[in-house]
Amino acid sequence: MNCLTVRNLISAYIDCELDPEQKREFRNHLFHCPECNEEYEQLMSIKNCLENSCQEPVDFNLLEALYARIEEEKLAINPQTDGFYWGSRILMTAACLTAFFLTTFMLFPMKQKSTAQTNLSFSSPGIMMDQNITIDQPVNVYQASWVLP
């Protein structure tokens, strides 16, 4: 075994992953080669260092975390199991309806007003539609749709 081969096998030797013949040759080389021996000592100290690195304290319950995750998934698949779900559904529908009626009321304020205008426009049967436009009245398309049949 030459130095290059030995250096590539250092970790495998440290981890007892060499076959007996390789192990014997490896030891033989280290005995005669201080450079490879130093390399071996250094890598050995790295392994020892990691092996002896202090265990981090565990303040975490794995099973609790697992069941919390399972619950999360159940809620995501079957949201109706949640009591609040339907309550919030009804509230949302009510809010949408209210908003719809309010907007409609504001956009088409008073039917009386438009009929008054109609009366005004058509009070005299002699006045034609195009004459109305020439008076420079502001035109609202929604009001127009109310007025016209």
Partner: protein, 198 residues
């Protein structure tokens, strides 16, 4: 279906759950240690563990009794981590992890100079722990997992090759290179500690 039949059918499921729970409890510490060393912080490690356990729980039917439960979970956790890591980093270099990495090994020399100056023995112990973690984080996830599984979790090369789904030769070279990269960061600490103690 009669009551007896439904009980007969339900029983194996509850047995399976009990088995799963007992296996998790048996390997609790090792699993946490693995996730923590992989992520480098408790918060991420706990998220990773939770998701890993959840995936394992859902596919527990695929688990073959008689095979090692801890290795099966290491594999699930490692794959989850790699998936997440790749999405986060999007580094093209991940494809060539087993190529020679001389340039990486020489780059690291810059960082180590200052760390040897700390003479306090107690502070050094916790700092060595930090330094180990920092060193592990310098490694790409595939190297990191191989080194953690070998040196901290105590698995053989063959067991690691099953977890990482690669050849024993690949495991051997990842561990060897990983240790050499760690040496650049850790050796000054270890030598300082040795000098302070002896």
């Amino acid at each position: 279906m009669t009551v007896a039949q439904s009980v007969a059918r339900a029983k194996p499921i509850s047995d399976q759950i009990a088995l799963f729970e007992s296996m998790v409890l048996t390997h609790e510490k090792a699993l946490y240690q693995f996730a923590y060393r992989l992520c480098g912080n408790h918060h991420e490690a706990q998220d990773l563990l939770q998701e890993g356990l959840y995936r394992a729980y859902k596919s527990f039917a695929k688990f073959e009794t008689g095979t090692a439960f801890d290795r099966w979970l290491y594999q699930i956790i490692h794959n989850l981590y790699i998936d997440h890591y790749r999405k986060r980093k999007r580094r093209p270099s991940v494809t060539s992890i087993d190529e020679p990495i001389q340039h990486l090994e020489t780059e690291k020399t810059v960082e180590i100079a200052d760390w040897t100056l700390n003479p306090e023995n107690q502070a050094m112990r916790s700092e060595l722990g930090d330094q180990i973690q920092r060193g592990l984080e310098e490694l790409s996830p595939e190297y990191r997992t191989a080194v953690i599984l070998c040196d901290i979790q105590g698995l053989s090369y063959e067991e690691i090759s099953q977890v990482l789904n690669c050849s024993i030769g690949t495991v051997r070279s990842r561990i060897h290179r990983g240790r050499k990269m760690l040496r650049r960061l850790l050796l000054p600490y270890i030598q300082e500690k040795g000098a302070a103690q002896g």
